[in-house]
């Protein structure tokens, strides 16, 4: 293979995945659908950062990926509790 590296292929696949997750985020008929799409988007971003760390030979991006994973988890839990509470208040 000349010119195109494995990292580039991985970046392209992750970008396609992000586009698909974004389609579900825009289209999703209900709020939980959008939350699932947002959660997947965060996982894809974490993978993107990890591969960026491999591509640039910088270990620091792994720490960024860890922080992003933590925040995404907390955000999804908060969204789930919000959906539940909103249903209870109505």
């Amino acid at each position: 293979m000349t010119g195109i590296s494995v990292e580039t292929i991985a970046f392209m696949m992750l970008s396609c995945g992000m586009t698909l997750a974004f389609i579900r985020l825009v289209r999703g008929p209900t709020l939980p659908d959008r939350v699932v799409a947002l959660d997947l988007f965060a996982v894809l971003s974490t993978a993107f950062l990890t591969i960026y760390a491999i591509d640039t030979n910088q270990q620091v991006f792994l720490d960024v990926a860890i922080v992003l994973a933590l925040i995404a988890f907390l955000g999804t839990v908060a969204f789930a509790l919000y959906i539940e509470r909103r249903a209870r208040d109505e």
Binding site: L14, G17, L44
Partner: protein, 136 residues
């Protein structure tokens, strides 16, 4: 050698992540989308992080990678459970081809009480909506 393993793991992981995204777009209802988004993406991110561990030799990176993989394996089921629970409370419709819904009729969304027998159907808002959806 390590580079080859790293590249193979990277491509495997991104393939699984792409398939998770395809599943989230193509699956017919929320609960199936959720299982695609949680299972396939967990496997995919684990493979990608292992690729990083093979690319950087050294204890500090390996420990951080193992910690992150453990974190994903612990939190993905928790988020899937919480979103599924909230979606069932709200009354998100299931796919019309769904074979079994074991909570239907046994769960009272007003009191959050689960009984072993069918509760009165008129207090069961979610199940009524679901039945109407499946008869359509």
């Amino acid at each position: 050698m390590n580079e080859t393993i790293s590249n193979v793991l990277m491509l495997t992981g991104t393939t699984f992540l792409l398939l998770a995204a395809v599943g989230v777009v193509r699956m017919p209802d929320l609960f199936m989308r959720m299982q695609s988004a949680s299972k396939a993406s967990t496997l995919g991110i684990a493979c990608v992080l292992l690729a990083l561990a093979f690319h950087f030799p050294g204890v500090s990176v390996n420990i951080r990678v193992i910690g992150t993989i453990t974190f994903f394996f612990l939190t993905a089921p928790i988020t899937a459970h919480l979103i599924g629970r909230a979606a069932y409370f709200v009354g998100v419709p299931v796919w019309k081809g769904t074979v079994i819904d074991e909570l239907r009729g046994r769960y009272n969304p007003l009191t959050h009480h689960l009984s072993s027998q069918d509760v009165a159907a008129d207090t069961d808002k979610g199940s009524r909506e679901r039945r109407a959806q499946s008869e359509m």
